[in-house]
């Protein structure tokens, strides 16, 4: 019943050409329903951890188990990406369709949904995130905060069972941060947030851990 959503066993990972590995014998697990904050100095491997889970980077050693299944090859990760959503640090990397509606429908269409259903899902997601009336807005002309919320909508439209957020508050004003907190609180899925903002984490997660080269050390708040 309480099988971990994510398990990382003895992961070793180094970027090519880097003097030191990011992870060495790294172990980590995330239990269902958890809301976890990941903190640590720049370059400690927070983003790397998220990218390893999504299969955007591959460990040099160790195993990754997601939803009880070991994932190794690109094909395994294709399934993972249907269930795990990743919100990128930079919204400009995430939004690439000309209009908001098309961008949000992109994921559902990739999941094999017919266009009419994809549009329906996109509209519902926008409604939920307070993005009503944004359908035909051009993605690259949105403000920074709007881009972030639309990016989140593109990920949530795929109805993930787990959400990974990479520094979601970077460059956002207080009002948009509050909206983000409100949205995250209304989610009934597990999520992990990488952030440098303790205040934001206090509002959104119950546990935080410090990412090290070998493990994630829980911090009691």
């Amino acid at each position: 019943m309480n099988e971990p959503l994510i398990e990382l066993h003895n992961i070793a990972f180094a970027y090519p050409g880097a003097p030191q590995p990011v992870f060495q014998d790294f172990n980590f697990q995330l239990l269902p329903g958890k809301h976890l904050g990941l903190i640590g100095p720049n370059g400690c491997g927070k983003t790397t951890l998220l990218h390893l889970i999504m299969g955007l980077l591959r460990p040099q050693a160790g195993s990754i188990v997601i939803f009880g299944q070991e994932v190794k090859k690109e094909k395994d990760f294709v399934d993972v990406r249907q269930k795990v959503g990743l919100l990128f640090q930079n919204a400009d990397d995430q939004l690439f369709c000309p209009t908001v509606l098309e961008d949000i429908a992109f994921g559902p269409l990739n999941q094999g949904k017919p266009p009419a259903e994809a549009i329906q899902i996109a509209r519902e997601t926008m409604e939920r995130l307070g993005l009503h009336g944004f359908e035909d807005r051009v993605t690259y002309k949105l403000s920074g905060g709007e881009k972030k919320l639309v990016s989140l909508a593109t990920v949530l439209a795929m109805q993930p069972q787990l959400l990974l957020l990479d520094e979601p508050t970077a460059g956002l004003d207080e009002k948009t941060k509050d909206r983000l907190i409100h949205i995250l609180k209304s989610l009934d899925i597990a999520f992990m947030i990488v952030s440098h903002e303790q205040d934001f984490l206090n509002h959104t997660v119950k546990e935080c851990c410090h990412v090290h080269g070998h493990c994630c050390q829980p911090i009691t708040t």
Binding site: M54, V78, R81, F96, P98, F106, N110, A118
Partner: protein
Amino acid sequence: MHRLDPRGKIVVAGLFAVLMAVSKSYVAPLAGLALALICLALARLPLKKVIARLLAVNSFIFFLWFVLPLTYPGDVVWHFGPLSATRQGLVFTGLITLKSNAIIIALIALVATVPIVTLGQAMHDLRLPDKLCHLLLFTYRYLYVFEQEYHRLVQAMKIRGFQPRTDLHTYRSYAYLAAMLLVRSYDRADRVFQAMLCRGFHGVFYSLRTFSWQRRDGIFVMMAMVALAELLYLEWRMPNLL
């Protein structure tokens, strides 16, 4: 004009451009120019914008007038010191000018009136290679981002007192700027692709828009085909000028 199915407009514009490009006489391009102007009038575009676009194209052709008549071999009609212009050269340059303007006006009226996104989808519907359609859509999407990136870099140079001069420092700085833009765009392309993978992308774009072919589209294409056939007939009947 704007409500016509973009697929019909693309096909007509494409055939028209090919026909213009291969014609060797003055008659077909003249008739073509007239047809293109009629389309332009029907499209009711802001005149200022159209003229600006035409000027941009014709500024290239302007330089041809300096080179071609003087270098094309043939009967000399005009001497200017050591230089001499030939009749054939002048005829040829005039033909190029006429053809390019006919093609560009037709494209402005038919293709440029379609939003880029719709254009990409219409091209996809016409079974043009996917790579071409994706290239078009992505170029359009990220042109703006690169422009911003460029301005950010230029500003970063300016606030540290950079002023372009004619010296090595300036050239080196510009080279760095260009290289940095290249590297950054490569990185960004990488990240965009990763983000797409995370959302289940597997090489196929699905389109939300469907086009509907209507009676007016059939009529438009039929009329265009008749006009193109007449141009072809004119071209076939007229002697080669060169």
